[in-house]
Amino acid sequence: MNPRKRKAITREAPPAESDSGEELADGLLDGILSHSEDSSDESQDEDYDSEDSSVIEGLSDEDDELDEDEDEDESGFESDGEEQRIREQLRKLKTSDSSSERRNTSLNLGDGEEKGLEDQDDSLKPNYTVTTDANGNPRYLYKEIDPIYDSDDSAADVTNTIGNIDLSYYDEYPHIGYDINGKKIMRPAKGEALDALLDSIDIPKGWTGLTDPATGKPLKLSDEELDVLKRLTRNEVLEDGYDPYPEMVHYFSGVKEIMPLSAAPEPKRRFVPSKHEAKRVMKIVKAIREGRIQPYKPPEEREEDDEQIHYDVWADEKPRPEKSMHIAAPKLPPPGYEASYHPPPEYLPDKEEEAAWLEQDEEDREREFLPRNHDALRKVPGYENFVKERFERSLDLYLAPRVRRNKLNIDPESLLPKLPSPEDLKPFPTTCAAIFRGQEGLVRSVAFDPLGIYVASGGDDGFVRIWELLTGRQVWNVKLSDEEAVDSVKWRPDKETSILSAAAGEDIYMIVPFTILSPDVEQASRDILDAGWGYAASQPSTTTNGETKEPLGKWSRPGSRLESKGVLVQVTVRSPVKTINWHRKGEYFATVSPRGQSTAVAIHTLSKHLTQLPFRRLKGIAQTAQFHPSKALFFVATRNSIRSYDLAKQELVKILQPGAKWISSIDVHPGGDNLLVGTYDKRLLWHDLDLSTKPYKTLRFHTAAIRAVRYHQGGLPLFADASDDGSMQIFHGKVVGDMMENATIVPLKVLKGHKVKSRLGVMDVDWHPREPWCVSAGADGTCRLWN
């Protein structure tokens, strides 16, 4: 027990009388003696470290304090039997404690205690001085606390020096001996004194001085619990009325009763071995024999790492940001002075500013409110926009979509097929390089010569003209007819000779423009044209009944005027010829006269000066006809279908249905497997002859009828069309040799330059035999070279 602690407690208490300490000392001394006599043997067995003892120590600690408290009011209290009993118990507890203490620390400890008490008395007096404060109340001025560390050492000084003398000799005296300094060692408090103190304290029922750790309130023990505690301290049976050794009752005995409880005979199963059990046992025995049931073997300890792969599924897991969909609202700046209800005057707007603010549009305002001055916070009115704002917010929430729609973000460009850029597909014609001017009326047809040096054109003025290509110089012309327009001009496809065919009205003219030819070329051309003279006369076609049939085409010399210009042969057919197309070898050419009905399509043999009609009857109105570039095939286009005929077998091979209303022109790809169709209903159609009778591709880029279509014949993957909207379009049309891949068609360029005259634009187009140059015939009376 720490004396200092005791001091601390006593200091809190109001001051005690100094002489009362003397009395106490007496009482204490008595108590010690009586205690030592009373219950020394009872507490002997107590385990010092046990839980109980510590609890009791705590209790005893409280007791000490109670002892001191008792000093203040000495007056005895009337207490009932119960209270008396508790006090008795407490006293006993304390004495057992102190007695054991003494036993362990020898007698000296008791002296130490006395000394401590004495110290207490000494220190009590000079510890403070009483003064009166300002209010007249007593004020305690405490001295500095003198830390006493040598309390342990002082224990030696408190030794009773009376020696081996019975204390009974001091019974009459208030002291029990003398210390080393000759001072009296006062007798500890006697039992009566303690009883008096305890009686004076009004202890509530069941008071323990402990706090219930569960509730934090003072722990109160009921009578039963106290009884249990008491029994526990005495190692007694806890419950009242419990008999630890009751009388034994023999319910079952080895004595056989005369009258059994049941008269039923013993069932058979009691003595017959169980068949079922035997069966089960045998089953197990059999299993053991067969080795199906193995005696238990402890599992061998496997090595950790053999063939057992552990997959750490979460090894690469990255911590996901929490609530990734959540976007925090932007943090608003803290309100400034102007937001205050009582802002500094410099923040208050003057009248002009206020007027300006009010005048401003709500959205333009720099700040949402106007600073206003209020003397006090209680004078601040309610927020006038509260209802409005709340309503608008609610409306926003109501109108806002609550579903997150997952929109497919697909770039529409990426869905389009990848077409090569026109830049990569150069060269192709882009600009007008020359204008061939000099014709009157519209130019109906234009054609490159096989060498690519000259261009021939024919138009409404009845002239056939030949132009130098790059310069646009007109080098030759002839007027074929006064009334009829030249509808078609075509060079015979032969590089050694130079023969131009032109159709004007019902006549087809074979022209050798000798002024631009060297004599040998001129002669070779003449020879070819002259070879057939007389052939028709020598072999007149006769019908079965012997009558001479009128020839379909009349081959004749055109007359000296034209002959002097180089026009050597005139072929007259029955109806106006609109198109001429040569066979690749230059021996045959086909003419089409759409109004000719049964004589619409004619094939002419140049070397024999012979005109034949391949079709007796043609379904539909023929528009154009063309030879296949390599095979003996012949294509005839009527208004809405194209038929291909095998000339050798004389049979219909295929009918192509472009789906057009009115075909204007066709052209066969130099490879022979593709066909281009231009229509008056503004469409350009690409037919793959191997694929289908329907078009492979439909190109609808023009705003007016397409007059002419033409493939580049010199190996470049180009084709062009000419339209009445005054423009030509150049396309890249690459045909791959193998059948697996379809043709690539890329629009490259729109060539504009021709003027539209009486709703006619570009009438014809032709490609240079080698270069990516094309020449067009316009309704405005010009031809243009594009490169």
Partner: protein
């Protein structure tokens, strides 16, 4: 900005022109990088002769024209401003002004200037026209002589090309396939054909003359090049099938037409075959007249050995080539293309790049080229877009633009428009009515160009 420290760069001035050389070497000068050509030109002038009339100079750094500030030039070319720049100055190109034009009756297809060993002002200008006539002009615009129309049996007589062989001899050819040698007599002012050379089946596009070896090369649309001799004696007999009298029809016509005088006809010494398309232009190599270059519509530039008539080298480009000239000091051939640009080709076997440089700016086919007699880098081109353009191969387009093959792209120095268009009018790209067919650059006469506007236009830099 004024606050920025002025960056200065050390330069060393030099020139190749003796007349404007600095008397004492100025050494290394420090100049601000913000300077442009005019300031540098003024600097050179102040060093040269402070009192005299300033001469405008062009400034070249590392062989390229300075068109921006020095700073931008250094940045563009990645040159450090601490290295000493070798700055070359040269007389600035003086824009050639229209001096005069000579009017013709028809389109003028070719022009040539004779200024060799003649007094100034005595130069003679030869023009060939589509009407089939050759005309010789003096520099003041008077016709000295006109040839008579040849009698070729009603066939076309349009001339496409003409060249002086000497001051007395002219070669001309055209769409009638015949190369004719004319004799020009200065005293009588007579121009008459002396010999007709037959070799071609189609029109002759271009002739080249080597007066030293007396050889003529003709490029024809029949894809061949023929080698002729200027002397009648040396030439073989003309091929009979090409003569007008060879066929009945043409013989008849020839007979019908009046024959004033008979001109001897001869054949070619050799024919070069190899091109697959019409040959557009032919040229004797300036250094060696036994080597010839030719360009063709088949996209190729061929080098021929004249003596063996074999094709030595073929350079294939991407476009039809229409004209050709040589830049001998640079070992380059300039070829005008139908794709509106001029390609500079190194014909030497060592050259790996097809195109050394591309000069862009024309809007139509480049059909005529001639080199600047006063500069090894100069070039003039005539195009069907109605302009003649002056080029300097050192003038490279800013911004580092490259052509199809990664080559440098050159920029036009000056553009000569046709006077016939009138002031301010610009020719359209198709050049209708004003196409330039031929252009010559003579040191004395200036730039002479002929075209569709039926006139020869002479442009000369005045004040040189």
């Amino acid at each position: 900005m004024a606050s920025q420290p002025e960056v200065k760069v050390p330069i060393r001035l030099s020139t190749r022109d003796q007349s404007i050389r600095l008397e004492q070497d100025a050494g290394v000068l420090l100049v601000q990088t913000t300077l442009k050509r005019p300031q540098l030109s003024a600097l050179v002038n102040s060093l040269l002769r402070p009192a005299a009339q300033p001469i405008p100079f062009d400034i070249l750094i590392n062989g390229q024209f300075l068109r921006t500030t020095i700073d931008q030039f250094l940045t563009a070319n990645g040159i450090s401003s601490e290295t000493t720049l070798d700055v070359e100055y040269a007389r600035a190109f003086v824009p050639p002004l229209n001096v005069t034009s000579f009017e013709h009756d028809d389109w003028v297809s070719a022009v040539d200037v004779w200024s060799h060993e003649v007094q100034s002002g005595q130069e003679k200008i030869l023009s060939a026209s589509y009407d089939g006539l050759l005309r010789v002009w003096n520099t003041s615009g008077d016709i000295l002589a006109t040839s008579t129309a040849p009698n070729n049996g009603g066939r076309i007589t349009s001339l496409k090309t003409a060249r002086w062989i000497s001051d007395k001899k002219i070669v001309a050819a055209g769409l009638d396939n015949i190369v004719r040698i004319y004799k020009y007599d200065d005293s009588t002012r007579a121009l008459s054909a002396t010999v007709e050379l037959y070799a071609h089946k189609w029109g002759v596009e271009n002739v080249a003359v080597s007066s030293s070896t007396n050889r003529i090369l003709s490029a024809s649309s029949d894809t061949t090049i023929s080698l002729f001799s200027t002397s009648t004696k040396e030439s073989p007999v003309a091929p009979s099938h090409l003569l007008a009298s060879s066929t009945s029809a043409s013989h008849k016509r020839v007979k019908l037409s009046k024959q004033s005088s008979s001109v001897p006809s001869r054949g070619a010494l050799a024919t070069f075959t190899g091109h697959t398309s019409p040959v557009s232009s032919v040229l004797f190599a300036p250094s060696d007249h036994t080597v010839a270059h030719s360009t063709s519509h088949d996209h190729t530039l061929k080098t021929w050995d004249v003596t063996t008539t074999k094709c030595v080298d073929t350079r294939t480009t991407g476009h039809s080539l229409l004209s050709l000239t040589a830049l001998p000091q640079l070992n380059l051939l300039a070829a005008g293309t139908s794709a509106r640009h001029i390609t500079l080709i190194d014909p030497r076997a060592s050259a790996t790049q097809i195109s050394a440089m591309t000069l862009r700016g024309h809007k139509n086919a480049v059909v005529a080229l001639d080199r600047d007699p006063g500069s090894e880098w100069g070039l003039v081109s005539g195009s069907h877009d109605g302009t003649a353009m002056v080029w300097d191969v050192r003038s490279v387009r800013a911004g580092g633009a490259v052509g199809e093959g990664g080559e440098r792209v050159g920029e036009c120095v000056y553009m000569i428009e046709r006077e016939s268009l009138g002031k301010g009018a610009r020719a359209k790209a198709h050049g209708e009515g004003v196409k330039v067919f031929d252009v010559r650059w003579d040191a004395q006469v200036g730039i002479v160009s002929a075209g569709e506007d039926k006139r020869i236009q002479v442009n000369r830099a005045i004040g040189e």
